[in-house]
């Protein structure tokens, strides 16, 4: 696949903008997924995905074709996500309404107490709960956890994407798992009984 991508990149560099469509098609779903998991918001995920592809397009001449294009574009996207998260702190992008509350969104809940009460967790769908727990992670753990468990990327690739030494990536994954464990001990999914 890298050979095809590099061929398309050369075509784009030679002025054939349409060749970029194929590159976008190949990676847009994965990139959107990472952005969505990082930001927890569909509009922002789309926004950042677009921005990442735009930046990649503009800087395509500086891309080293001996490397993997996916690593490069993931790096652009994760950096943009982290910037967005830091700019918006302490907004956790949880603008979805919490089930069973009257117009309360997760933001107001999280901002007020740092965590939702158990009764509300119980009402959550499984997928909602996943996103909720990810969004509670500090951003340095969030990016490694998303890349490891949502994208299932090898640790070596995560270290290249985030430009961190492999040891740091491992440490962050360990701490991220511990953070999730603590977060979830409030109401482990096993006790919810697999409501989906």
């Amino acid at each position: 696949m890298d050979a095809i991508v590099n061929k398309r990149i050369k075509q784009v560099l030679n002025g054939n903008q349409d060749a970029y469509t194929e590159i976008v098609d190949l990676y847009q779903a994965r990139l959107y997924q990472v952005c969505y998991r990082m930001l927890g918001n569909k509009h922002e995920a789309e926004d950042i995905t677009q921005e990442a592809f735009l930046r990649a397009f503009i800087n395509l001449h500086s891309f080293d074709q001996k490397r993997k294009f996916s690593t490069w574009i993931f790096r652009i996207a994760t950096n943009l996500c982290i910037d967005r998260i830091r700019k918006k702190k302490p907004d956790y992008h949880l603008d979805a309404q919490v089930p069973g509350t009257d117009g309360l969104d997760m933001y107001s809940q999280v901002a007020a107490s740092g965590a939702l009460p158990v009764e509300q967790l119980e009402k959550m769908e499984m997928q909602e709960r996943v996103q909720y727990e990810i969004s509670r992670l500090p951003d340095k753990y969030r990016s490694v956890i998303v890349l490891k468990y949502m994208e299932e990327l090898p640790l070596q690739e995560i270290s290249e994407i985030l430009d961190l030494p492999l040891g740091t990536v491992k440490t962050r994954i360990h701490r991220g798992r511990e953070a999730l464990r603590k977060q979830m001990s409030q109401l482990p999914m096993t006790e919810v009984g697999g409501k989906r």
């Binding site: 784009v12 560099l13 030679n14 002025g15 054939n16 903008q17 970029y20 469509t21 976008v24 098609d25 847009q28 779903a29 959107y32 997924q33 969505y36 998991r37 569909k42 995920a45 789309e46 995905t49 677009q50 592809f53 735009l54 397009f57 503009i58 001449h61 499984m126 997928q127 996943v130 996103q131 727990e133 956890i145 468990y149 949502m150 640790l155 491992k170 994954i173 360990h174 798992r177 511990e178 999730l180 464990r181 979830m184 001990s185 482990p188 999914m189 096993t190």
Partner: protein
């Protein structure tokens, strides 16, 4: 809840979950988990976290995401290849840019000079596009006419240069001679009406300018 002695095993748990554990370490961890309930619970919780994270279903991007992305790209059309070319051959590019500017300067000069112009002097007449040096009048120094004609009936004490024009009574002028005609040009007479000659003239006068500057002289005619 975890004592310091358990920290080593927690490290091993994470190594195990990352598939990053040595066989002998794995044996050690399993043996410990059998005997330690607290660590067993911890291991269970971590495994649940992993299973929970892996249960996340892929989110579907909006169907028009690709076309939206393509619409945000700047339209580069032809210039993309050119930009690329510039990046690959910076020295050639610099030389090309230099040439473009130089020729722009030159042609700019040339076309800016399309207006009728001549050296300022008090005692001359102008009829339309023709400069007349009247009989008996003496112009001191070099005389230049641009985009116009000249009729010399008097005297020019220096070189006469006509660019893009004619010397109307050239036949009557007797260079450096006071005989036969009243018209006198003491220096050289030059008619320039083509681009290359114009260029040559520019270069020559530029050279003379340098020469004058070196010798400290103002007058190039002598």
């Amino acid at each position: 809840m975890m004592g310091a002695c358990h920290e080593k095993y927690i490290e091993l748990m994470h190594a195990y979950l990352d598939g990053d554990i040595q066989p002998d370490e794995e044996k050690e961890l399993k043996a410990h988990l059998k005997s330690c309930e607290a660590c067993q619970a911890h291991m269970h919780e971590l495994s649940d976290v992993v299973a929970f994270m892996k249960s996340a279903q892929p989110v579907t991007p909006p169907p028009d995401l690709t076309s939206n992305i393509m619409a945000t790209l700047p339209k580069r059309n032809v210039s993309a290849g050119t930009q690329n070319w510039f990046r690959r051959y910076p020295i050639v590019s610099a030389a090309a840019v230099f040439l473009v500017f130089m020729s722009a300067m030159f042609f700019g000069n040339f076309s800016n000079d399309q207006q009728f112009a001549f050296t300022k002097a008090d005692n001359i007449l102008v009829e339309g596009d023709t400069v007349i040096i009247p009989e008996g009048e003496v112009v001191e120094g070099d005389f230049v006419v641009r985009n116009g004609d000249i009729r010399v009936e008097g005297t020019i004490e220096g070189n006469l240069t006509v660019i893009n024009g004619r010397i109307i009574n050239e036949d009557e002028i007797e260079t450096s001679s006071l005989m036969a005609s009243t018209a006198v040009v003491t220096g050289e007479i030059e008619e320039i009406d083509r681009v290359f000659e114009w260029l040559w003239f520019k270069m020559k006068s530029g050279y003379q300018g340098v020469e004058n500057w070196i010798t400290g002289s103002d007058d190039s005619s002598n």
